[in-house]
């Protein structure tokens, strides 16, 4: 509905319209670019997005039914005509057992810089093999202290894919850089790692803006650049089609810093329902 013809500063009001999908295409691109480059803007967008999603799930309504036309004559006693029947189905997420088997893969790939992928893969193993003992994160929440380590990073909520955020850590990588590692666990043994790290553009940059796939055995990883950050999402054994759908969704959201839209959430649910559980 709104455009930004004056190219003025990006205000809190504009960020709200951006999160609500109320800006025109040119303004979306402008704000998305600014958000990707500015940690403070990214923080604001994350806060607005979180508030939206919390509010959207806050409706604690008793089931409503259509009125009986007879109460046209009996409005003095509204309760007489109200409310019965269908119950509100509360959403619940059940946690399943972890797969505990060790997965040791030498993750070298022709298309991606080998040490970067190896680092990401080692980090994945680090939390996923002994996930219950190492879990430091309240399920579904990410500690703000971790976000501060890489404030421009966008950490998506994957509950639409029945994956719950259960691990967050910050790991030193080359030089003084730090990578943010986030682990998600599914209800059928799947574990996903998302690693975000600073990736300054350079002539030997192994990352492109489009997703690049690396595979080894039943393990897969997609890597890409979003602004000045690199993202690697990894899985061991997740159904390839499901993982691709998931990676594409995360790829998109990492660029626009917005939660999944309803179409994407539906696609994630469907791909999960169609896929086989992850092997133990």
């Amino acid at each position: 509905m709104s455009d930004r013809m004056d190219n003025g500063p990006i205000t809190f009001e504009i960020l709200n319209a951006y999160v609500d999908g109320e800006l025109d295409t040119a303004s979306i691109a402008e704000v998305a670019h600014a958000v990707a480059e500015d940690g403070e803007l990214a923080h604001q967008v994350a806060a607005i997005s979180r508030l939206r999603s919390v509010l959207a799930e806050s409706l604690d309504a008793p089931s409503q039914s259509m009125p009986d036309p007879d109460i046209f004559d009996d409005r003095a006693d509204p309760l007489k005509a109200s409310l019965s029947g269908r119950s509100v189905i509360a959403a619940s997420i059940a946690f399943a057992m972890f797969m505990t088997g060790s997965i040791l893969v030498s993750f070298l790939d022709r298309n991606l810089k080998a040490d970067m992928m190896q680092n990401a893969w080692l980090m994945h193993q680090g939390w996923s093999i002994d996930a219950p003992a190492q879990t430091k994160t309240q399920p579904g929440f990410i500690n703000a202290d971790y976000i501060k380590a890489l404030p421009e990073a966008y950490i998506p909520d994957l509950t639409a894919a029945r994956l719950t955020l259960i691990h967050t850590s910050v790991k030193p990588i080359s030089g003084n850089s730090k990578a943010l590692l986030v682990g998600y666990r599914g209800t059928r043994g799947c574990k996903i790692s998302l690693t975000v790290f600073p990736a300054p553009n350079s002539p030997i940059d192994p990352l492109g803006e489009e997703m690049s796939l690396s595979t080894h055995g039943n393990s897969e990883a997609y890597a890409w650049r979003a602004g000045s950050l690199g993202y690697v999402i990894m899985s061991a054994g997740m159904d390839s089609l499901r993982f691709r759908t998931l990676a594409r969704s995360v790829h998109r959201t990492s660029r626009i810093h917005l939660p999944f839209d309803s179409q994407t959430r539906l696609a994630l649910q469907k791909s999960r329902d169609k896929s086989a559980p992850c092997p133990a």
Partner: protein, 175 residues
């Protein structure tokens, strides 16, 4: 789809909106019923779904205002609160935005802010649909929702109700 079925798909969201206006379960249920009845008895209904949705929410709002007038309740409660036009960024921490705190603090907001938050964030109306429902320009919706969210974020941030911090086990310190 007939009108009854179309209305049925919005009953829960209408209840959410009604609750934001009344803060009372029974009065909200009553308002939803009255809204549905008024909609069912209308001679014409919008065929376009967004227009139909905005029309339903407007009916509910009108039913609420009618009751306010009947009860001689202060209409001033519906007036928007004046805020500074400068909308600086929120400085709080995202981890404080939890379901419990949001719910508690939202109930303390002025009616106009609860209303816009409910229409946009809970009922899922677009700015244009909310503007149509409230009878205000779309630009006003844009500023009103940002003010309401900011107020709620600040209330959440300063709330003394927070989830307990997660204990960190010894030996698990980050490098």
């Amino acid at each position: 789809m007939d009108t009854e079925r179309r209305i049925e798909t919005y009953l829960q969201r209408l209840y959410g909106y009604a609750f934001s206006l009344t803060r009372d379960q029974h009065r909200s249920e009553d308002l939803v019923q009255e809204c549905a009845l008024r909609a069912l008895s209308a001679k014409k209904t919008p065929t376009d779904e967004p227009a139909f949705r905005a029309w339903l929410f407007r009916i509910l709002k009108n039913a609420f205002l009618d009751r306010l007038r009947r009860n001689k309740t202060a209409i001033a409660a519906m007036e928007d609160v004046n805020f500074s036009p400068v909308m600086e960024f929120w400085q709080g921490e995202e981890r404080f935005i939890t379901a419990l705190t949001v719910k508690i603090e939202m109930a303390k907001l002025p009616l106009s802010q609860r209303e816009i938050l409910t229409l946009i964030d809970i009922s899922g109306l677009s700015y244009a649909e909310a503007a149509e429902t409230l009878g205000i320009p779309t630009g006003t919706v844009m500023s009103r929702i940002s003010r309401a969210r900011r107020a709620l974020l600040e209330a959440v941030e300063s709330s003394n109700i927070h989830e307990l911090p997660v204990k960190k086990k010894a030996g698990l310190a980050l490098k």
